[in-house]
Subunit: 190 residues, 2 copies
């Protein structure tokens, strides 16, 4: 039985993809993940190093010791099997995983009856969060040009999505501010 796309672990996918993009060491993979896919797919050292070894055992990657002076360093590359597994995964029509954990939304869900001022602070914090993501995304590529699929496409998606979220926050903040002003007026009347 051939190793198929379904056998790739989540972190295995990132690793194979990054190796094809020319990354070589576990360290390098982690660095690039942290400024690219981590906005929709993170990976930690605790996953990357063990997974590289497992991928090697399964023949999807090969390794070579390439120290920098006295500093240990292992370069990895895709094998033909690994490349096939990557392509199979990319072409696979299995329902792609999509998970979200958004604590701010969970707070808002349970916010009926809370002080408007407090809720407002939750929304403002959420907006600031999305703004900081947008800022970091803009740093990555200040001048998007490449119309092809690949890193630019997902960057553009991220920018658009977080921009939308910022606008939603602003609208919601205005709504809550009006509520606040209204209840202040009512209080004054009493």
């Amino acid at each position: 039985m051939e190793a198929s796309a379904q056998d790739l672990t989540p972190t295995g996918r990132v690793i194979l993809g990054m190796l094809r993009l020319g990354k070589r060491t576990g360290y390098e993979i982690k660095q690039i993940v942290d400024v690219s896919t981590r906005f929709f797919w993170a990976a930690s050292y605790g996953q990357i190093y063990p997974e590289l070894k497992r991928l090697e055992e399964r023949g999807l990657v090969g390794s070579r010791s390439e120290p920098t002076g006295g500093r240990a360093r292992t370069e990895y590359r895709l094998t033909a099997t690994g490349e096939r597994a990557l392509d199979d995964w990319l072409a696979s029509e299995a329902e792609p995983a999509h998970e979200v954990r958004d604590e701010a939304m969970l707070k808002l869900f349970f916010s009926e009856g809370r002080d408007t001022e407090e809720v407002l602070e939750t929304v403002r914090a959420l907006r600031r969060k999305h703004e900081s993501v947008v800022a970091r995304l803009r740093e990555i590529h200040p001048e998007p040009v490449d119309p092809d699929p690949g890193p630019y496409l997902t960057l553009e998606y991220g920018l658009g999505l977080h921009d939308w979220a910022i606008e939603w926050c602003k609208r919601t903040e205005r709504r809550l501010e009006r509520r606040l002003a209204r209840s202040a007026r009512e209080k004054a009347r009493v």
Copy 2:
């Protein structure tokens, strides 16, 4: 030492929140999560039942056996301490967790050089996915009216967000279709 908001586990938060909304059994909590928060915060039986027991040990919830005929059934309710923990969490200014795992985006990130037709299929599948989410969200509340924070606010967010994603997919599909037509013309010329 008082139990503070920081001690609440992720699932613990959902449970306390749902109990305040009037849910009573683990089963009921799971049912409601599956048609509400699960779009931004899921929970499974394997987490809910053990967590209810832990919350009880810590005094944040209380339980009472309330069988339906011969069918075992345990009703839970918030204690004063639990209510305080919930409020503390809602008001806490700790950076709220925000995690995304979007396999479709990961595929697109690694899609440089893939057949345009294949990439197009990935984007179409993504659009269908968002469309099905929007369809399910619309079923929940066909006529949103409530302007207050709470379930309606997050529903509105979900609808807007997934709608935005659908539009992005459509734009991207058109872009890729043009690319496909262009390369078909070029091939014809050769």
